[in-house]
């Protein structure tokens, strides 16, 4: 029966103009060359927000492009979902400030939610729920991150990978016989919370002179308690165990075989991890997205950026069923089927 279904109508993204290249990293860290960094990470350039550029600014820029494309007008948005781990303030919610800056209607709902690399998939399930319960018609999902503000300049373990950026995704109500977003599978394991963390700066550990003290780790990287920390080997293990299981659960839930999925877009963590996951999942390379070279790991925005670029380059087309999987900080993960319209 044809009823209102949620669908992704348009995606725009914005990367700040500040850039960090492999050549710059090689120069700073001495014992690494630019080609080795590219080979390991798949990343040539990262975008770095300026000191006065916040996640809200990146999100507003992405959404302004979306409205400029004619996909919909700002006055048609009736719900704003903003996903970030680098909010402008503790309070108010950054989404409220963005509502004002984008001149969205004042009868528009607006909330922040705090997730990293799984955030886009969670945002889609929230948007779908709002639309298919007739609570909203046009949901603007903005994912935006400025992790660079938390990254220690002497910590190459994360500086080589992470990039600032934002994506604005329009999820709208359309008449359709078929489900166009979903099914979903979700997962959470907070026992891995310490493996990807900014330890200080919240209320559990307020900023003090002690939290500013930089210490060198086992691999020669420096960071303080106010810096972003990622235990790469533990996260790698987590992904190797979790992503195949989540994909298996998703396939069972939607009743499709691997070869009936037209394309796979995983969170673009880094090339090394994606190569290993593709190999493990036995996905042909022409159905598996790896494109970090000019974008880096933008956390919650890698999947919408990939969906947009894959559509533009023709890797995915209208009618395709695409499996998307986000995984990371939390630990938190989610997978879904998205029908391209």
């Amino acid at each position: 029966m044809s009823t209102a279904k949620a669908a992704i109508k348009a995606i725009s993204f914005y990367l700040p103009p500040g850039k960090l290249t492999n050549e710059q990293l090689a120069q700073e860290f001495g014992d690494w060359d630019a080609e080795k960094i590219l080979a390991k990470t798949g990343i040539a350039v990262r975008s770095i927000a300026a000191a006065d550029e916040c996640a809200s600014d990146l999100g507003v820029a992405a959404a302004t492009q979306l409205f400029g494309s004619g996909a919909c007008s700002n006055r048609e948005i009736d719900f704003l979902l903003f996903c970030t781990q680098s909010p402008d303030h503790f309070a108010p919610a950054t989404a409220c400030l963005i509502q004002d800056r984008l001149k969205l209607r004042t009868d528009c709902g607006a909330i922040d939610f705090n997730l990293g690399c799984s955030g886009f998939v969670y945002g889609l399930t929230l948007a779908k729920s709002l639309i298919e319960t007739s609570t909203a018609t046009n949901v603007l999902l903005i994912t935006a991150e400025t992790l660079s503000k938390f990254i220690n300049l002497k910590d190459r373990s994360v500086r080589t990978i992470f990039s600032d950026g934002a994506a604005a995704t329009l999820v709208s109500s359309v008449d359709s016989d078929d489900e166009l977003i979903g099914p979903f599978v979700f997962g959470t394991d907070g026992s891995g919370g310490q493996d990807v963390i900014i330890p200080a700066g919240g209320l559990r550990r307020p900023l003090t002179p002690e939290s500013e003290i930089e210490k060198e780790d086992h691999s020669g990287n420096w960071r303080s308690e106010r810096n972003f920390y990622m235990n790469g080997p533990e996260v790698f293990n987590f992904a190797l165990q979790t992503v195949p299981r989540a994909l298996d659960q998703l396939l069972r839930k939607c009743g499709l075989r691997m070869d009936e999925i037209d394309y796979f877009i995983l969170h673009q963590a880094n090339r090394f991890m994606l190569d290993r996951l593709r190999d493990k999942l036995k996905i042909p390379s022409d159905k598996f997205w790896i494109d970090l070279e000019m974008y880096g790991n933008t956390s919650s925005s890698t999947i919408p950026i990939a969906l947009r670029v894959a559509r533009e380059t023709g890797a995915i087309k209208a009618g395709d069923k695409v499996a998307i999987i986000g995984f990371g900080v939390g630990y938190s993960w989610a997978a879904a089927i998205v029908h391209i319209i």
């Binding site: 373990s157 086992h218 020669g220 790469g232 533990e234 790698f236 293990n237 190797l240 090394f272 493990k280």
Partner: protein
């Protein structure tokens, strides 16, 4: 067979000659950076299809310990 292939890979990861990579080879985690650790986890997963907990991996003092850890994980799976 896969153990032999794994040892060749491990030699490449640790940048030592494959002739040196015997069961007696000492693993000194003190000299490993996180990329070496990740590459080793990936090689174990690729060759044996199992993941090993980081704490147990870094507790291995020799290649023999590491192979025993892998065999144990294989027996469990």
């Amino acid at each position: 067979m896969s153990e032999a292939i794994f040892l060749v890979k491990l030699a490449q990861i640790l940048e030592v000659s494959k002739e040196d990579m015997t069961e007696q080879f000492k693993l000194d985690y003190g000299n490993w950076d996180s990329l070496t650790l990740v590459a080793t986890i990936a090689a174990i997963d690729e060759q044996f299809g199992v993941t090993v907990p980081i704490r147990q991996l870094t507790a291995c003092a020799s290649v023999r310990d590491l192979l025993e850890l892998i065999r144990g994980r294989l027996a469990q799976s």
